[in-house]
């Protein structure tokens, strides 16, 4: 998979350091939690939550790089960031796998427990599993030799699946994520996703203007950009109306019963 030259230049390769950092971060997190959390059950829950959160962070970063590059151009630092993006994607797949493994074998108890889960959980896990598969495919095809074998065009086409995976990840987290019922977390997530949607809209508009120069006037572009951004943001904000959050239901129930969760 790796050429002789790549192996020789490993100490000069930023991707190598990112991957080492990710492995050490996972180790550090698991060991620190094991030391701090006495209960086995709680250890699995916290580990799964933190690994999932880190995986989402990496996916967000990987998705934000392209549109930021469209805006700022290709200064020296951006060339380094673009080079490092592949390792960021592989790290996202790595943490997503750890998240899934801890949840599947630690919390659910393997295939036996899968059938005992509520329907909302099953749907959510299905979305998460598809997103994990996409991340895996992308990680597996992130080698130069594989790209040469697949041809860049096909490789690029495959990697566009990340946008679908991103939507599935949002659904997965919304449906069974514990902390998304917090108002503050919802505000932070909506802001972060709104920003990402804005960046992606700008990228789409830029590509559109390149392909169809007749629409390259500033007024056209800004109108298309605002429409795209608004549509995506409105779809996101209206999601709670048509997709149920499992924990949200119970959180609301506890509040109705007297709000005893307020400490």
């Amino acid at each position: 998979m790796l050429s002789q030259e790549t192996i020789k230049n490993l100490p000069n390769n930023s991707r190598f350091y990112i991957l080492v950092f990710s492995v050490l971060l996972s180790m550090f997190t698991a060991c620190l939690l094991r030391m701090q959390v006495g209960s086995e059950q709680l250890f699995y829950i916290r580990t799964e939550q933190i690994f999932g959160f880190i995986a989402i962070g990496y996916v967000y970063l990987a998705l934000a790089i392209s549109p930021v590059q469209k805006i700022v151009g290709k200064p020296g630092w951006m060339k380094c960031v673009l080079f490092a993006r592949r390792a960021i994607g592989v790290s996202a797949a790595y943490f997503a796998f750890l998240h899934a493994a801890v949840a599947f074998w630690g919390q659910i108890g393997g295939f036996d427990g899968l059938g005992l889960l509520p329907r909302t959980f099953m749907w959510s896990l299905g979305f998460g599993a598809i997103a994990l598969l996409v991340l895996f495919l992308m990680a597996a095809t992130s080698f130069d030799k594989v790209i040469a074998f697949m041809t860049f065009r096909h490789w690029k086409w495959l990697h566009r699946f990340i946008y679908g995976a991103g939507i599935l990840i949002i659904l997965h987290v919304w449906m069974v994520g514990t902390h998304v019922v917090y108002n503050s977390v919802q505000i932070i997530c909506a802001t972060a996703l709104g920003l990402l949607f804005g960046l992606q809209s700008w990228r789409i508009v830029s590509d559109f203007a390149k392909r169809f120069p007749v629409f390259s006037s500033r007024d056209y572009l800004i109108t298309i950009f605002i429409c795209l951004w608004l549509v995506w943001t409105l779809v996101l904000l209206s999601m709670p109306n048509y997709i149920q959050s499992y924990h949200g239901q119970h959180h609301n129930a506890t509040q109705r019963e007297g709000g005893h969760q307020h400490e």
Binding site: P11, N12, N13, S14, R15, Y17, V20, F21, L24, L25, M27, F28, A30, C31, L32, R34, M35, V37, G38, S39, Q41, L42, I45, G76, K79, C80, L82, F83, A84, Q107, I108, G109, D112, G113, G115, L116, L117, P118, F121, V176, T178, H179, V181, Y182, N183, S184, V185, I187, Y246, H247, H250, H251, A253, T254, E257, G259, H260, Q261, H262, E263
Partner: protein
């Protein structure tokens, strides 16, 4: 001045939206049938001894809402003292409130019956590691975790030093 106002209003909004502890999920298997229950423990899966905890069993039995079940919920501490806890039964599951007296391991037993027939039986061990300290130790830190933590920190430091020393080469090589 405007900036300060904006900052103050953002902080106020964030503070007013401060999180309430919520429950996550633990899958508990039924000893009678092949059903399962998702146990929610509030606050944050990690109850505090001396403070009220909310326990909710979301039972995966679609026929349960049509029945008139009776739930018996008991909590047994590590001294084998058993307490029967009153429950609320509704369509979505069975909930109970309980104040764990001190830290330690507790066994939660939920038995659901209808007309004397046992429908479901769930057992779960819940460790309480926050709040009032009990007479027994709540567990020790495994050696592998300490060694792993130390290894990760040391290796991270070595990698950071190597990367810093080679920063010019990295900058030259690692770019498109």
């Amino acid at each position: 001045m405007n900036r300060k106002l904006v900052l103050a209003s953002v902080l106020t909004t964030l503070i007013s939206c401060m999180p309430h502890p919520v429950s996550a999920h633990v899958l508990v298997k039924d000893n009678v049938t092949k059903a399962g229950a998702v146990l929610h423990v509030n606050p944050d899966d990690d109850p505090v001894a001396g403070k009220k905890a909310w326990l909710f069993f979301g039972i995966q039995d679609s026929s349960l809402p049509d029945k008139r079940p009776t739930a018996t919920f008991t909590i047994t501490d590590d001294q084998k003292n058993q307490v029967a806890v009153p429950t609320d039964v509704d369509r979505s599951g069975i909930s109970a409130e309980y104040v764990f007296p001190r830290q330690g391991m507790y066994q939660l037993d939920l038995v659901i019956t209808e007309g004397g027939k046992k429908l479901h039986e769930f057992r779960h061990n819940q460790r309480i590691s926050r709040g009032i300290t009990g007479s027994q130790a709540t567990g020790s830190t495994p050696a592998w975790a300490q060694a792993g933590l130390l290894f990760a920190i040391l290796l991270g430091a070595v990698a950071a030093i190597v990367a810093f020393n080679r920063r010019h080469d990295i900058n030259k090589y690692s770019r498109f």
